[in-house]
């Protein structure tokens, strides 16, 4: 297991689960935790469940991806409360997490992954 993992935060349960299915296909050995919605049926993001996902992820360095603005705020708060090293990327959720997952699986360094992510950065 690599020491770098991924967390994915979406407002919707199915989006998070869907992306998880997508990237598991290329990154079976990467530690990935996803959080979607307040519950299976309620849309939203929660600070508590993000912190839980951070703690449950086996890796100490985490690359974090999110969908809309308020997810980022909860993510930033959870980051401040956690001892792990967490980097949040302002990139499209599907493309960004897919790139990170595929490259982590291939053993690419974090610096090189960031270089690739920079190319797809968006204003969020």
């Amino acid at each position: 297991m690599a020491d770098t993992g991924i967390i994915i935060i979406s407002h919707v349960y199915e989006i998070a689960e869907g992306i998880n299915r997508l990237i598991q296909e290329v990154a079976g050995d990467v530690s990935i935790k996803v959080v979607g919605g307040l519950s299976k049926s309620e849309i939203g993001t929660s600070f508590d469940s993000i912190l839980e996902a951070i703690n449950e992820n086996q890796a100490d360095n985490l690359l974090a991806f999110y969908d809309l603005g308020s997810a980022k705020m909860n993510l930033e708060m959870a980051k401040e409360m956690s001892d792990k090293s967490i980097t949040i990327y302002d990139v499209p959720l599907v493309e960004g997490s897919y790139i990170a997952a595929a490259l982590l699986q291939a053993g690419v360094s974090k610096d090189d992954i960031e270089q690739q992510l920079k190319e797809i950065q968006i204003a969020k």
Partner: protein, 193 residues
Amino acid sequence: MNVETGIRWMELFNEKVQAEKDYLTQLDTPIGDSDHGNNMSRGMTHVIEAIETQKPDSLEELLKLITTNLLSKVGGASGPLYGSAFMGMLKAQKEDNIPWSAVIKSGLESIQKRGKAEAFDKTMIDVWIPVVEALENNQLTDAVIDQAVESTKPLKAKKGRASYVGERSIGHIDPGAYSSGLLFHAMLEAEAE
């Protein structure tokens, strides 16, 4: 502000949020995701429950309890924003003899640090900024609060979910500004009792 007034403040804020829950959601419908009423209602219900079960006996304990409950239970963007506000107030309140205006100002600074909004971005801070100014001059009234809330109406949203609809956000009161207005109306009422 002492702990008794602080508790009364939260009780009155809760009453207003529950009474205006549908209106908050209505404000959030054209420019947001229609969840502000439910979110604030859920958050404040938890705050009141926590006050009843934990019975805080200092202002510090009360602010701590408000912070954790709003942060965890409100959800959406308002959870981290209101949570940060009370966290900022909690930090400032630890200083000896700090004026209440400085405590609220510290709350405002925490909101800005979290949400990165500037004045006139059509957010809750468009209420917090004039409220802090008025408090510093000992001139905070219900009218000042109402005017600040109303002033968000002609603005175009540059932050938050409303910014996704761009020009279409013009002409609507910002829901976070409105709920902040309720918070400060409740504060004035609690202080007057």
